[in-house]
């Protein structure tokens, strides 16, 4: 058996009593995009002893050997997330790695909510915006790594996400960038839940070492944030240009016209699993005690949609349903009008968020979520005064079962 050598340095300025290895072993990092930059960042995280990695990337490796860290043709066509997970496990067997071969938009909140920090390295606008929105909501720092090949520039943007008045990635887009990216994103006409944004513009042109440097910088930033080294965590972009060897740091500020929701969720707990709680109980745990405020809340049941009505594709009849479903899941109901085999969630009456005000039957708010078809790991409550992510915390304060 090979015992790895521990060469963790004694960092200057490290707070007294902090054991960096132990701290990193208890750290969970989400990597959004594990291509040319993100795969290298994932490997660095593993080598540094990060305890848990969540890899998110819905795409397979392409034949891009110029920048990607693939092992050659054998990796082409393999899913990036699962392949990089395998690489990390090979160099860091103590690191727990979970791979989500899907876009960030389709990853449940429960997979992200325990994260200490995220690194995003993607050239996909919707993914950047969604990563920014989610980690702002979770109040966890987000580091975005990117490159500009023609000018030999590596860039790391850091979003502290300390409060709702902090910038998100969408705050930084100029109108011209928005228009440019509007023109580059295309979708397939497939509404079966498989619609994926496809960037049709030219791929990011760079060279392998520049991608590597961006990954290095992102993980160094991660270590600085997590171990409290160097400058205080802030909202900034750092650019390293290898023509001039100049380093530029520019502060980032919130754009008041940013169209993305700027909400930071506080953490709330229920003593039972959310599936055994009612929507009203979840809202109460979030701080919503007042019935008037409850009627103005919206509630996300993680990873599920609320189908108020279902419809028959054969005869067009629709009927009440009032159940939570996984997106794209069948209802297992037959049509009462024509006997058709598959009622599907009505596209106009199926919602990502449940609104108590809109509930045709108020009793729905007072029955366990399980009886409405939902057994979520977490529930997100947003009201005029309260916004919280509600998870299970047993009464004894121990870890959720």
């Amino acid at each position: 058996m090979i015992v790895p050598t521990d060469r963790m340095p004694e960092f200057m300025g490290l707070a007294r009593g902090v054991n960096p290895r132990a701290l990193l072993a208890g750290t969970r990092v989400v990597l959004i995009g594990v291509g040319s930059v993100g795969a290298r960042a994932a490997l660095h995280c593993g080598r540094c002893g990060v305890g848990e990695l969540v890899l998110v990337d819905g795409k397979p490796f392409g034949p891009n050997f110029f920048t990607q860290a693939t092992r050659g043709a054998r990796d082409v066509g393999r899913g990036k997330a699962s392949t990089v997970a395998r690489w990390v496990r090979a160099v860091a067997p103590d690191t727990t790695v979970r791979a989500y071969a899907r876009p960030i938009e389709a990853v449940p909140w429960s997979a992200l909510e325990g994260a200490d920090l995220a690194i995003a390295s993607t050239d996909n606008l919707p993914a950047e915006v969604e990563a920014g929105r989610r980690f702002l909501a979770l109040g966890r720092p987000l580091v975005m790594a990117s490159v500009h090949g023609p000018s030999l520039t590596a860039e790391v943007r850091t979003f502290s996400n300390r409060d709702a008045d902090r910038p998100c990635p969408a705050c930084c887009f100029t109108e011209a960038e928005r228009r440019q990216l509007d023109g580059q994103v295309r979708f397939s006409c497939d509404p079966s839940g498989a619609a994926r944004a496809r960037v049709t513009g030219p791929p990011t042109a760079s060279v392998s070492p520049l991608c590597s440097i961006a990954a290095d910088l992102a993980v160094i930033e991660l270590l600085s944030i997590r171990l409290g080294l160097g400058a205080e965590l802030g909202d900034r972009v750092r650019q390293y240009n290898f023509y001039t060897h100049a380093t530029t740091t520019t502060p980032l500020a919130r754009n008041r016209a940013c169209p993305v929701e700027h909400v930071v969720l506080h953490r709330a707990a229920v003593a039972r699993r959310p599936g055994d709680c009612t929507l009203r109980e979840c809202a109460a745990a979030a701080g919503v005690r007042d019935d008037d405020e409850f009627l103005r809340t919206t509630i996300d049941v993680d990873g599920m949609v609320y189908a108020a009505r279902v419809t028959c594709l054969r005869c067009g009849a629709d009927a009440p349903h009032h159940r939570f479903l996984r997106p794209g899941a069948p209802t297992r109901r037959r049509c009462a009008s024509c006997g058709g085999p598959g009622l599907v969630p009505h596209p106009f009456h199926t919602h990502e968020r449940f609104l108590p005000r809109r509930a045709e039957s108020p009793e729905l708010c007072h029955v366990p979520l399980r009886s409405l078809g939902a057994t979520p790991a977490c529930v997100i409550v947003r009201g005029p005064q309260h916004a919280a992510l509600v998870t299970h915390q047993p009464d004894d304060g121990g870890p959720p079962t």
Binding site: A257, R296, L313, P347
Partner: protein
């Protein structure tokens, strides 16, 4: 009963004054609007423009039946347009009169491009509509990608173009594809039937007649 503002055009929607009842409908929906102030303001502005579009187009073209701004923007509108229906056994096209559309506009559509089928659902006729760009769930596909922040009124105008077949995508080999290949093939062979009407959405003679509240 009021008279539609005859000179108002698509560029003037923000300035259109709504009827008292319609204004009350807008105020009621806005009072229940959720989300951050900027999103609430945007939803209200979109709702005003939609109601203004109905006002200048007149009820013989567009009526707003429902507005819900509580979470995402939701509206149900009636669009008075011919609707192509599945051909009869002899192969003759049937045409229904009028469509009811359900429009959904999530906040994320402000910040990022969305698929063309993300916004509009044909609620009525409930089955049998015969379009290349209409899927089995009756979602209208308005294009390969809808730009971030597209106005709701553009979705209505896009739906008009699609349902009247003034704008149509028939080529299944296009990367965006078609949603009903049988309909695309049928329409390719019956191109002479397109469009179902050549009328523009805003009729030139609008405003010269009495219009009811939208």
């Amino acid at each position: 009963v009021t008279t539609a503002q005859p000179n108002a055009g698509l560029a003037d929607l923000d300035g259109v004054v709504l009827d008292h009842e319609v204004q009350a409908q807008l105020d009621g929906a806005a009072a229940m609007a959720g989300g951050e102030p900027s999103w609430r303001a945007r939803k209200r502005a979109e709702a005003h423009r939609l109601l203004a579009l109905a006002r200048i187009a007149g009820p013989q073209r567009l009526a707003v039946h429902m507005l819900d701004l509580a979470d995402e923007f939701r509206a149900v509108v009636r669009l008075n347009t011919p609707v192509a229906m599945t051909p009869d056994p002899n192969g003759a096209l049937r045409v229904a009169d009028g469509a009811v559309l359900g429009i959904r506009y999530p906040q994320q559509a402000l910040a990022q491009p969305m698929p063309g089928f993300a916004f509009v659902r044909l609620l009525s006729p409930p089955v049998g509509a015969w379009y290349p760009n209409l899927c089995a769930e009756h979602l209208l596909c308005l294009g390969a990608s809808m730009p971030a922040g597209i106005p709701v009124t553009e979705l209505v105008l896009g739906s008009w173009g699609l349902l009247t077949m003034q704008s149509v995508m028939l080529d299944p080999s296009d990367h965006a594809g078609v949603m009903n290949a049988d309909a695309a093939a049928w329409w390719s062979e019956h191109a002479d039937l397109m469009p179902l009407t050549a009328e523009p959405f805003l009729r030139p003679d609008r405003g010269r007649e009495e219009a009811g509240p939208c």
